[in-house]
Amino acid sequence: MQILAQQLVDGVLIGLVYSLLAIGLTLIWGVMNVLNFAHGEFLMIGMFLSYWLYTLAGVDPLFSIPLNAVALFLLGMFIYRFIISKVMTGPPLAQLVVTFGVSIFLANFAAFIWTPNYRFIGHTIFSGTWHLSGIILSVPKVISSVGSILTSGAVFWFLRHTRTGKAILAVEMDREAALIMGINTERINSLSFGIGSALVGVAGALLATHYYIYPFVGGTFGLICFCIVALGGFGSIEGAFIAGIIVGVVQTVGGYLFDPAYKVAIVFLMYLITVWIRPQGLRG
């Protein structure tokens, strides 16, 4: 029973990190209908950034969060301006393939300049475990989840309460109407791509506190991210947040109750059932 409770807690903790990753992805999809296959690689770059700041300058991953956010925001804008926007007017297949190309390029480029070796940030200011009435909480994981909640909250607030945020939501709802109302949709596009990437940069710093780092780490999180976005409803930020937690919990608790060999299968089965009953996803 205690172990089951432990699984539940661990599931929520990893789920919250999934949520943050998926929010960035769903934002990009919602605004411009581009499925960013390079999302996982952006995460990898965020993790490496934290790693190098830690190794070369002694900056704790938690303090590299703002830097990561800014750097990934700029990278996202750059990639949007010079690559994605060029194919936005092309056939849908081109839009799909271009981010795929970016992802392969980034992963292999990282392997080339940083070698494919595995790296790990040894000691962060928050490490160790807390014991809470028999449940063991890994401190870095708790910090990551709290960071994830705060960042997601900030995104919600930004979208609801600022002019730019509202403009993003407007474009998400109806691009043409937004254009007629005088919203510069091109600017909103690159802005949302930048924000989506910044979120993944934050997630990268959070994950770097307790996860190994290497050029192909994006693949481990990428696929699960797509599942979460589809489960939550394409483009729905609340949906992605909730779905992230659900996937985390189902994965750990399901793996514990049945068999870890099927934990990924259980997640995707749940996804299949959801789209069968509700093709638009939870909040789509």
């Binding site: 790296r119 190994y212 192909f216 481990t220 793996g255």
Partner: protein, 422 residues
Amino acid sequence: MKMRRVLMVSAVIAMALALCAGPGLAQEKVIKIGALYPLTGNLAATGMDCKRGVDLAVQIINGKYDLNLPFAKTEGIPDMGGAKLQIIYADTQGDPKNGLAEAERLITQEKCVALIGAYQSAVTKTASQAAERLKIPYVCSDSSSPTLTERGFKYFFRVSPHDGTMARNQFEFLKDLEKKTGQKVETIGLVYENTEFGANVGKQEKEYAKEFGYKVTADIAYPANSSDVSSEVGKLMAAKPDVIMHAAYITDAILFTKTFKDMNVVPKGFLNMAGYIESDYLPSVKADGDFILVRSTFALDLAKKKPLVGQVADLYKEKYKIEMGENTARSFAAPFVLADAISRAKSTAPEAIVKALEQTDIPGDQMIYPWQGIKFDPTTHQNIYAKAMLVQIQDQHYYTVWPWEAASRELVWPFPAWKDRK
């Protein structure tokens, strides 16, 4: 009109290809060997380890070195007119279907006379199928799934011990331990990743547990490269086995070690495989890896009893600025075995090489492993002398602890609790 242009272009391409393929025979004596490794993708770091091992071996064969290794003292292979080995690398990306396609390409387009590689058993399985079909010898010294040599292939040979042998060695160790120290182990928890390698290890370990009289209280297969392993570790915590045996590649090894520590999992011992001995493992987990036991075919401390190991390890360190690890050491073997066979066959014809391979008899003092030698079983083509030893991580280094007579450090048993460490 258009059709004619296409025909013209094809004709030109065909001619160009014919020209390229032609001069190969007349050139200076080079023996082309194809090597398959995961040079990009999840296991790229491991693939690079293997590649460095092969490169060093080829450098020794082609150059002049004062080492007691086959062909070290001469340049190239004397019986082939001083012919040198040339390795053509192919990237499998760790994917069995790429392994198959790349093996075919190496044979049909690059005209390699033999293949080596591919580290991951699942990839070696498909790649060696291509070699078997195209009748090209394949010498593997780095994949460990027992099924590879159970297929009755004519062209496939394996130098290194397979997981069946190594799993058996783990249980022999437990029995030895009981005999020596009286420390009894009753229950075993098995955790293994679900590809060719892990699944077969799990199968073998279950059989040997039964044979040696241990009770398996947890039998956990899990998907490789997980983002989180809480449920796997949770299952182990529920079963509380005396000894945990984990078969994984490096990514999972790092994640499990961290989770074991966080969740305070303290069995009497960890007997692990593969990922725990890859060169990036200790730099990643640092002191958290201490006291874990890993099966190995190589350890740097073998140098104490076998100076050759130290000489090769120094050469390696000088060249690559890192310590030689077990994967590198394993991949290091295949080029020597092939060079030896080609030299005795005095030919690069596949049939002749296979025939020579079947008669391989390399003595133990001419290699860097603690075995009696290399000699292939006539039906399975598995090296009959290959076996594993156990190394324990102490002070962030690997030390041989079993068999007792090969030990360079005293075994630490049971596994010290995480909280008692500094």
